[in-house]
């Protein structure tokens, strides 16, 4: 072995010693460049990543609580139980908030439409239609100053809407001022209304 071989051997030894450090550096640089995709990969492989039993149980409990809370809120909304924020709101305002329940306005434009009914024997009149999910509690008509007159104004999205009145929670009544729409599903006619965009 001459002096040149010895030099080469020493250089190789230095490089061999440095290899692990270089690999870390390369890995770090790649990690920085590819950081976003690595984060996605971590998220995608999360279920197989190391995870404590306590954390898993906590997650399960949180999921259950969230589920029950959501369900309870929906039940309360459907049954007309006033949520805290709605407690003082008048019937008409409640009705306005309920409108997008079924047919939302994609262009965020609605036209206020007044519904009226004259029924001197009615004690309670509800407006039901495709715009409020046919809910009998969502939109109640208010008695007018003249005996037996009822009315409510609701914002409707452009298009064709079908609706009816439910008097005293029992009698199904079409609107005498509007054309009727046949109902092949259930056999009771609805009233029909076309609303144009404002």
């Amino acid at each position: 072995m001459d002096a040149r071989d010895e030099l080469i051997e020493r250089a190789a030894a230095v490089l061999r010693r440095d290899r692990p450090r270089n690999a870390r550096v390369v890995s770090r640089i790649l990690g920085a460049v590819d950081g976003r995709s690595r984060r996605w990969w971590r998220a995608a492989t999360w279920p197989s990543a190391p995870f404590s039993l306590a954390a898993t149980l906590s997650l399960a409990a949180a999921g259950l609580i969230l589920g029950f809370v959501t369900r309870d809120a929906a039940v309360r909304r459907d049954r007309g139980v006033p949520l805290a924020a709605q407690e003082e709101a008048p019937v008409r305002a409640q009705a306005l908030r309920m409108m997008p329940a079924s047919r939302g306005a994609s262009e965020a434009t609605t036209t206020p439409v007044q519904f009226t009914l004259r029924d001197v024997r009615a004690a309670r009149v509800a407006l039901v239609g495709d715009f409020n999910g046919w809910s009998q509690t969502a939109t109640l008509l208010e008695p007018g100053t003249k005996a037996g007159t009822w009315s409510v104004t609701v914002p409707l999205s452009a298009g064709r809407h079908v609706y009816a009145f439910v008097v005293d929670g029992q009698a199904w009544m079409t609107d005498p001022r509007s054309p009727k729409a046949r109902d092949l599903d259930f056999g009771r006619a609805n009233s029909v209304l076309i609303v144009q965009a404002p």
Binding site: P47, A73, S102, A158, P179, D185, G187, I194
Partner: protein, 212 residues
């Protein structure tokens, strides 16, 4: 590791069911247990393919309000689910919920599904809720679906506005109520709207196919 996976696997359907249950809670409180189960099943199916679930609940509530039998309500909800799917597909690529609902209504009165696609082609970037509503009402008033669709799509392609389509529907509705034959009323009123529009362009040629 196994316990963790088991828990995660059991949570996934629970989360989905909880979402559906929250929706199903909007069902009328008087709905019986069997109807609730059927509607929940339909909701799960609708959610899986991205259909608006609220419309299915509304249909069930309509049946309940009309005191229909649970069986009839379940059938109506299932049928609506199918119509919503067809409407959504025909009105692709990005129909809004009100458009899907209006499309399903059009199919309900007998408008052929391909008409919806033609209407989307005529108005690719505008809401079809009103034109579909006008078409539905014309067909519901007794006009042949293809004739009514041809008039409406032609007006759309020629640049008719929502206001003009609305006026057409109102006029025909009034004429029919006054005793006119629906087709005569539509022809007369459509000519009136056409006279206000610019002449036909190549864009509207598809609505007037050449006849042999």
């Amino acid at each position: 590791m196994k316990l963790r996976r088991l828990l995660l696997l059991s949570l996934a359907p629970l989360a989905a069911t909880t979402g559906v249950r929250a929706q199903a809670a909007r069902l009328d409180a008087t709905a019986d247990f069997s109807l609730r189960r059927v509607v929940e099943r339909e909701l799960v199916a609708a959610r899986a393919i991205g259909l608006p679930e609220g419309l299915l609940i509304a249909k069930a509530n309509e049946g309940i309000a009309k005191r229909a039998t649970p069986r009839r309500i379940a059938d109506a909800v299932a049928a609506l689910g199918k119509r919503l799917q067809v409407a959504r597909d025909q009105l692709a690529p990005n129909p809004g919920e009100d458009e899907i609902a209006a499309g399903a209504d059009a199919l309900y009165v007998g408008v052929p599904a391909p008409i919806l696609k033609k209407m989307r082609a005529a108005w690719p970037n505008r809401s079809l809720a009103l034109p579909l509503g006008v078409l539905t009402e014309l067909v519901a008033k007794g006009l042949p679906a293809n004739r009514a669709a041809q008039v409406v799509t032609d007006l759309m392609a020629r640049g008719a506005s929502n206001v003009q389509l609305y006026a057409l529907a109102q006029s025909v509705q009034g004429d029919v109520a006054a005793g006119w034959a629906p087709e005569a009323a539509l022809d007369l009123r459509a000519r009136g709207v056409m006279s206000l529009l610019p002449p036909a362009t190549a864009a509207s040629a598809f609505t007037n196919p050449r006849r042999p």
